[in-house]
């Protein structure tokens, strides 16, 4: 029980990587607040699943891009569970398009959710963590920040900025026992990557030395390490978890 008596908040926690992280944290003894935007059923089913296994979870709706919504959400979580020890900024969206025809709305939405959301939630919890002299902030980034693809200028920009924010915030909070790290997943089996995986089929595995697409649990286990006391001397790092994808070796 590596996270016993810790209170965790996971944005985008109803599905995909966020869901796996919430489950993993709960299994390690943490109480988990699952923040979702629209998929209430998924969030509620996860809460039920965790509570039935003897854990404690609550679900709250919030729009990560809306500072007021985020503040209100954090306040409610702290009222119900207590001070937030672990924040996982996992909520993210993609709106891929070729740059020359990308609409401003597509650019703004991705930046405001993927980057603005991280700002809003970090801002709502950082001072409290700093005063308590302990905390864990984990930002879910992407290999796309550095290992770029066609059609993802907005997404790559947002994740690159998250990496820089991770480093800069780590410096400010380090003295107060708050670590700030990021995980850059490669190709993971989630709703977000489903369209690409459907189109590409088996071809993707050729680019991944481990010859398999990652599972949300692969990311969740690293998140547990970052959330735990074991990572106490580590901060400002972006951990790539991609089965070797970004090593650049293509199958023979």
């Amino acid at each position: 029980m590596r996270l016993k008596d810790q209170n965790a908040l996971v944005t985008g926690g109803s599905r995909g990587i966020g869901r796996a992280i919430a489950q993993a944290f709960a299994a390690e003894g943490a109480k988990v607040a699952i923040v979702y935007r629209g998929n209430r059923e998924a969030a509620d089913s996860l809460v039920a699943e965790i509570n039935n296994k003897g854990g404690k979870a609550i679900a709250l709706q919030a729009d990560v891009a809306d500072a007021a919504s985020v503040q209100a959400c954090v306040q409610r979580v702290e009222q119900e569970l207590g001070p937030i020890n672990i924040l996982v900024n996992n909520a993210g969206v993609i709106e891929d398009d070729l740059f020359v025809r990308m609409k401003p709305e597509a650019w703004n939405k991705v930046i405001q959710t993927n980057l603005g959301g991280v700002f809003n939630f970090c801002h709502a919890v950082a001072f409290g963590m700093m005063q308590r002299r302990s905390g864990r902030i984990i930002n879910i980034s992407s290999v796309s920040a550095e290992h770029v693809n066609m059609g993802q200028t907005n997404y790559s920009a947002s994740k690159g900025a998250v990496n820089s924010l991770t480093r800069a915030l780590a410096v400010e909070l380090a003295k107060r026992g708050v670590t700030v790290n990021a995980i850059a997943p490669g190709f993971i089996e989630t709703d977000m990557s489903a369209p690409v995986r459907n189109k590409a089929g088996d071809r993707i595995a050729k680019f991944i030395p481990m010859r398999r697409i990652g599972k949300p649990e692969d990311i969740a286990k690293v998140a547990v390490f970052l959330a735990s006391a074991d990572s106490a001397y580590m901060t400002g790092q972006v951990l790539t978890v991609d089965g070797g994808l970004t090593l650049g070796a293509v199958a023979e």
Partner: protein
Amino acid sequence: MPTQDEIYSKVSATLVEALNVDEEDIKPTSTLQGDLGAESIDFLDIVFRLEREFGIKIPRGELFPESIFQGDPELVQDGRVTPKGLEELRAKMPFADLTKFEENPEVGNLSNLFTVDLIARYIQGKLESGNQN
């Protein structure tokens, strides 16, 4: 209205919590940065705790004036605080004793102004002027 000693005592206790230092390390003349190891993030925490402890509101820049530190060329030139800058300091920090600083107004020495004693005098001033929350 608490006595001077009571105010000093509470300020000292606040600094112990905010800066994670021992009570014995805190003297009236202790400088926050030099002696007690405070950094900018600690100043924020100190203001927050003082507000809560004494039930007062400390507007941004009133206790720890930021304008001088921004490097405004009217207030700071070549690393020294200008006469205009000194005026600004006197106006913003009426509770501070600037005589020693004025002898050698190097920006680097500004931090020596921020002593435990200064905070206690500031709080006293706020409470006397009825500035309660």
